[in-house]
Symmetry: D2
Subunit: 411 residues, 4 copies
């Protein structure tokens, strides 16, 4: 095959599917395979991935296992949370935001090794293929991306297992049959979709939830925490400073315990179909509520309303895979500009599935008790100003009403 | 006073403050006062308002007590919920949406009676004055609006009580002192603000909540309900058809019981200051979740994303008092257009403060299991199409990356 | 070929390229071909298309030649002009808006004839393929669309000519060689692109312009016309009522004469590349200016600003081929709502390339000389209101400035 | 008057009206007046303003005459042009953009002198009062702004003249009567409005235009110029580097000569009324066209479309006086981010009222002849990709059409 890639960097989890891909790349293209396995906080040991890669014939210098948790939270999750980004009103974009980081590493490793292609294990029906590939192309326009699921003829579980057996790929016992649903996980969230969840009318069974206690089983007593923010990013819990990934991990633990951050959702994929997913974003859900809480007192109305109006587009860009695009960077510049004073502390109540802001304070607060008070405000605000304010705001409405009446009469 | 109004229609609750206004209008302007008292579902008897008005010398034919609950939900609340409107990310606009209805009635009654002015009891610091007045001017450009709180010198509780005593206005015992906070209520929500709540750092005490059980005291067992929708509006609960107001009242009861719809919020008022409010929107919170749930399967992605991007502006217009404005009507036309197929049923789980969609189904569903399935899709979707889709979406990003590299190299 | 279409409706111009497509469909698929030739006002005789179709073996009952000019202007051009739609700041969308109409007819004829496919002559690099196909699929999800340019191997002029000669397709003398550029025309505009125009640095030669006099050759004396509008649509010129297509044709003649509506433009195609086009939109350019002129006095500020903010998205949807999409229809509903009072007359000056509004009047005018006058306004407007208006608009800015100063000092 | 200001910084033009204000401040408040006269490129000598201020008793150290032309263009005009900002589709914001600069100087001088107030000569009906005051309050929340036109009783020309005579203010002969219209000018534009122009149906007489040759009188031969851009800002004409103000002045001369940049416009003022203005923006009109021309080849589609959708809001903010607001700064951050590669050269044709881009080139160009060519593209673009691209874009439309047909059938 004359146009076969020579060296391919594969996003490798160590699981059965990407092991099959690894072997398929070797056999289909006769190419050298380099593996990249990221610790995104998915909660799995990565050393087995190394051993499995070696077993499949990957040279040690071609195996890259990288802890990207801090980078993930600092450079991807936190910037996104500055925007209060939710897709279609509810989804916190936990899968979407991890993909550009993975592509960034794949491309970097490809450049280091002089590889001519990268490969991923996303199917041809989903969003992840788009996110992986748009990011890769945006970072290296000459790179080639191989998506085996769109190319090969291993179109059933049986064929995959046969291929694995034929190539001596170890198969864990529970992987022989179909998984009841498919899972993606990282420090921000766990998503589950497919198969058992494909009927959007049927409630997801409890066993789908892997990361959060059921609200019914959560503690009967609320717990309170205080999250500190600096320029829009969370920096402490209960006064204790933490690195981004440490902080998100701690919030995940609070969220897990109190059953916070579950979402049963039907969304619109970029590729044109609707799909149903079960998401668990325990720490992220707390973080979103807290960020909104601190913005309430530190962000100006004009800035806040502009942010709110930009957010759906920003979230859509991330969902669709355009993290590395000029328009996402433009929106980020605007959002980051707004966060210069989003500094302070939020107090939250965690209880049986909910994280609720119950207090917020800041040296950067714009809240003025002097202005808002029902008591005597000592001249901070002249109520008579409101009369002029309203009259000028009403002027065009009056002119409209008069015009409409005039026209009606003339008809 | 030569430019004094002759006849004034007053938005009259029957409470102490609007009774003082009533009397003040009579004494200050020597004008005839007509009262309008609306049953918006605030949960108070209205006959006492009639008796009190009569006691204050209002002629029976000048007393208007109207049950506007169905009108309120059908013509104001439901159209707004079609938009999934939330102000500043969280507030369901329960006070804002009632004001234009009240003004509409004030203006209509004014025209019936040949009155030259309307009057309301909102203060000069809040949003309600703006909402009342913009609506009134938009409906009758020649109307005059009197806002006694911006005019009179009754600037302390003591002076108000003195005025009431001087004019034989009955004062309930618990009204002599300052109320600990101020309350507004209707079928959609109850808001509490001011005084005891003015410190946004301090958690609101439990006694502020008047309409919802505390989540901690809510039942330990979840309850499930099914809400039916037709063209974007809720029409049934558990298969039982209900009128708009009946349905919302029923949802309020579910929400009350399960502690759903509490919000502790600092918001940006249109008049330029931040204020803190405690909102309870039990039925509305359930309704919003359910409406999102039914849209998930019946609304197209393009329509949904457009709606999401228009929503913040729509919500801002309602918050700021521009219900009767051409731009709100334009947005409504767009939103209503999107709801033609938002028909079907949502199943929700209610539990200790949360209403969660757990299932949805519809004859109008756009969800296609045939397309999304992980199983063999019998040719519904050709995964190879995704390659072209991605490559063309990536083309501009590649051209950008190549350009940027070229420029960097040349520098 | 088992999955070959049986009957195909071809968008047929009668020119060499679509004649080759016609024959190719017959020979490649052995299918029955039905032709659709539209009079969109492109300024060519259509009877030759009929004769040529017959010559190529199309049965008379399979030849559809339809004058769609009124439909085109009334149902596509005018609704679009209500939005003042321009793509990327300057392009009036003359090609884009014709494509959905053609697809609509193709699909309708396919349904009449029981055809299983439609075909078009757009290439695989442009926007038109997208517009044709999205429209067709939106109107008939089961239809098949054949795009020969993406399928066949006639990839050079030489091969096309060979194919034509082999199949006795008549070739006009001037069609043997490469055309210096490619042209599309309809009642709204003429576009020229490709080959001789591919260097965006080089000024387009005068011979490219086919539909407008050069401004330098236009009359040395300005001409004035008055365009009447009713609900956002032009209905008369100089007081003479005209049908939509008649009116646009008349404006085209004015524009042609005065050299109005030329545009040399580099645009972003939906498929990801930039291309350079020369557009001539003589009547449309006058119409856009006039529509803006009448909106100036009849459209409210709130409505107008909302329209302005929606326009780029609306124009993008049309450019990208999403005329028949829910989101375009939502925007249209909003836009149409705004046009209810856009009724009146605009006076324009036409001179050497420019159409300029110089006067406008309307019974629906919102312009109030009483309010705006520098003279005594007899109390229409109280300048003191402006003080309150400004102070409340300034309040948040003051609170911000005070906060920022406070924080700076503390640092 | 106990709350009278002690020291006031007045925006002083040297003309009759601001001289009256100067004297009125002295007599009404007994305060010390400091004058600020800016050379904004309005084309008037400023030394007479100094002499007149001295004549009116201003101490030399209290007279500030500052050439702000470079600052005006560099820090205000150019940033705004990066956004292609036009208000309500057509107005280039020439007056709006000068006001924040003036307020910035007033506030700075007030702080230097320890003044407690600033004053301006804008009336209570217009936008300028809002722009002056919002800017001042945003820069110094403690400043007081005095707007004599909203306060005094000099409500007719006669009274003004009497006041001037009484206080020995020199009155130029042509200032005794009413001016036929009111004029504002700076390096970017000249606006004329009021009185003779108040009928929007009547064409503005030629004598209103002060800054541009009539297109009819402009040269019969086109002239070509080349404007160089660097990161979104114009930096050279015909290869000659120029400072911002020098460049704009040169463009003004080109525009004047060729009759470019006239606009007869009815706009919506922020204070709620419509007004008619005649604007002349000769250099700015050329600059806008040129900036669009260079963006055509250097700006990515995603960035460009986002910019287009943000522009109306950005322009509205500037028009309404919110230059110094967080939301304008957020938008500016996004816009500036987009301009990093907007570098290159545009060739324009100037002829009888029009400035037209006829060529553009850049080392930063994204235009790829290899991709767009009608000729063989050597594999740069695979036309088959378009099929998948279209099919996935169409998927949701097909699902919609199928759903709608299904529902129709069921009805």
């Amino acid at each position: 095959m004359s146009d076969a890639p020579k060296k391919v960097v594969l996003a490798y989890s160590g699981g059965l599917d990407t092991s099959i891909i690894l072997k398929w790349l070797q056999t289909e293209y006769g190419c050298e395979v380099i593996t990249f396995t990221a610790d995104l906080g998915q909660g799995e040991e990565l050393e087995p991935a190394r051993q499995k890669a070696e077993l499949l014939g990957i040279k040690p210098e071609n195996i890259h296992i990288v802890d990207v948790r801090e980078e993930f939270v600092r450079d991807f999750v936190f910037p996104m949370f500055r925007a209060n980004a939710v897709y279609e009103g509810q989804y916190l974009l936990g899968t979407s935001i991890a993909r550009p980081l993975i592509s960034q590493h794949l491309v970097k490793i490809a450049q280091q090794h002089g590889a001519d292609a990268v490969a991923h294990g996303a199917t041809g029906k989903g969003n992840d293929q788009v996110r992986f590939e748009l990011s890769a192309y945006a970072l290296d326009p000459a790179i080639r991306v191989i998506a085996p699921w769109r190319e090969w003829d291993l179109t059933s579980r049986t064929k995959l297992i046969e291929f694995a057996e034929k190539h001596q790929i170890p198969i864990a016992k529970d992987k022989r049959g179909e998984a009841p649903f498919s899972v993606d996980a990282n420090l921000l969230h766990t998503s589950s979709e497919g198969k058992a969840l494909e009927d959007p009318a049927a409630e997801a069974p409890e066993y789908v939830y892997q990361r959060t206690t059921s609200p019914e089983d959560a503690p009967d007593t609320p717990e309170y925490i205080e999250i500190g923010f600096d320029k829009g990013d969370a920096v402490s819990i209960d006064g204790q400073a933490m690195s981004p990934a440490t902080l998100l991990a701690a919030l995940n633990e609070y969220g897990r315990k109190h059953g916070i951050g579950r979402l049963d959702f039907v969304e619109n994929r970029f590729v044109g179909m609707k799909s149903r997913g079960i998401y668990e974003t325990p720490g992220g859900t707390i973080l979103l509520e807290a960020h909104r809480g601190i913005e309430q007192i530190t962000l100006d109305a004009g800035a806040g309303h502009l942010k709110d109006s930009l957010m759906p587009r920003y979230a859509e860009l991330i969902y669709n895979g355009f993290w590395f695009s000029p328009e996402r960077e433009m929106l980020q510049a605007a959002i980051d500009k707004s966060q210069e004073h989003v500094t302070g502390t939020v107090r939250l109540k965690l209880y049986k599935g909910s994280a609720t802001t119950v207090g917020r304070w800041s040296d950067h607060s714009l809240y003025s008790e002097a202005h808002v008070t029902f008591e005597d405000d000592a001249g901070a605000y002249d109520q008579k100003d409101a009369a002029g304010f309203i009259r000028l705001n009403a002027l065009r409405l009056k002119l409209l009403a008069a015009r409409n009446a005039r026209v009606r009469q003339a008809d």
